[in-house]
Symmetry: C2
DNA sequence: GTGATTGTTATATAAACAATATAACAAATA
DNA sequence: TATTTGTTATATTGTTTATATAACAATCAC
């Protein structure tokens, strides 16, 4: 598995797992319909507890990114299934706000933040116009 | 004071204080050289503990946004004093990444995220070209 | 100079959160 | 049928968040 846990990080382990799975999906390493490893298997791979991975999976389900079939497994939803709802857009904006505000206060320009945003895209090897 | 605390929020109180002070600075309601209220006064205003506000002030100092003069007060640093360091730029990018990745996975386009970013700017009544 | 205010430091407590450890259950799968 | 799966439950440990008091020394207003 591509997930690397940093135990010293201020980001909780379950959150690290959630983010790195999202990155894997964004990179195209994991595609809609693909099954995630069982919570026990992934936990064993990462050397963490089963419940920690389970919490991550449920976080992903709440975000609308995967579907957990009880007693079976977790499947990555297709982009159609997870068509961006107004609530999700609002959530993204809510997440974006404090980051942008901090950037502004520190003196970053719109262009600089825009550039960083596109850099995140390109780092994930997703082609973006003008980069 | 313009700060509104939501006790039920999943965002810690000290973090809410930090963010809303940054918003106040971004809006221009508070300018470089201005003094922040004493930790005791602000805590009394908000109905929270002194240490909670103190933690927020130290977070702002660590971010390079204010200067705390021991036994005197906290002052908002000028934009010149806090000229964007490479470390700060890197920090902003680090903060930006998970938000952008989640947006991507949920199916948001670069343009949509860009639009939200500029909306945050305009909501803070900072003039931005092309908005 | 006196007294109030300031950030600092220390200690203590309570609640919530994060993470682990075991264990048992019932549905799904091979 | 036996294994694997997510689910649920209980318990423990450590960290974080938040509050409550208190005392200290530097600063500030009068």
């Amino acid at each position: 598995m591509f997930i690397q846990i940093e135990p010293q990080s201020d980001v909780p382990i379950y959150e690290q797992v959630t983010r790195q799975i999202m990155e894997g999906i964004a990179r195209g390493e994991m595609k809609p319909g693909d099954t995630l490893p069982s919570v026990r298997n992934l936990a064993a791979d990462l050397g963490v507890n089963m419940h920690t991975v389970n919490k991550s999976y449920h976080e992903l389900e709440e975000k609308g990114i995967i579907t957990i079939r009880a007693k079976s497994g977790a499947i990555i939803r297709s982009t159609e299934e997870r068509s961006l709802t107004p609530e999700q857009l609002q959530q993204i904006e809510k997440n974006l706000k404090p980051v942008v505000v901090e950037g502004m206060v520190l003196g970053a320009t719109v262009e600089q933040i825009e550039h960083m945003m596109k850099k995140v895209f390109s780092d994930l090897q997703i082609p973006v116009e003008g980069v």
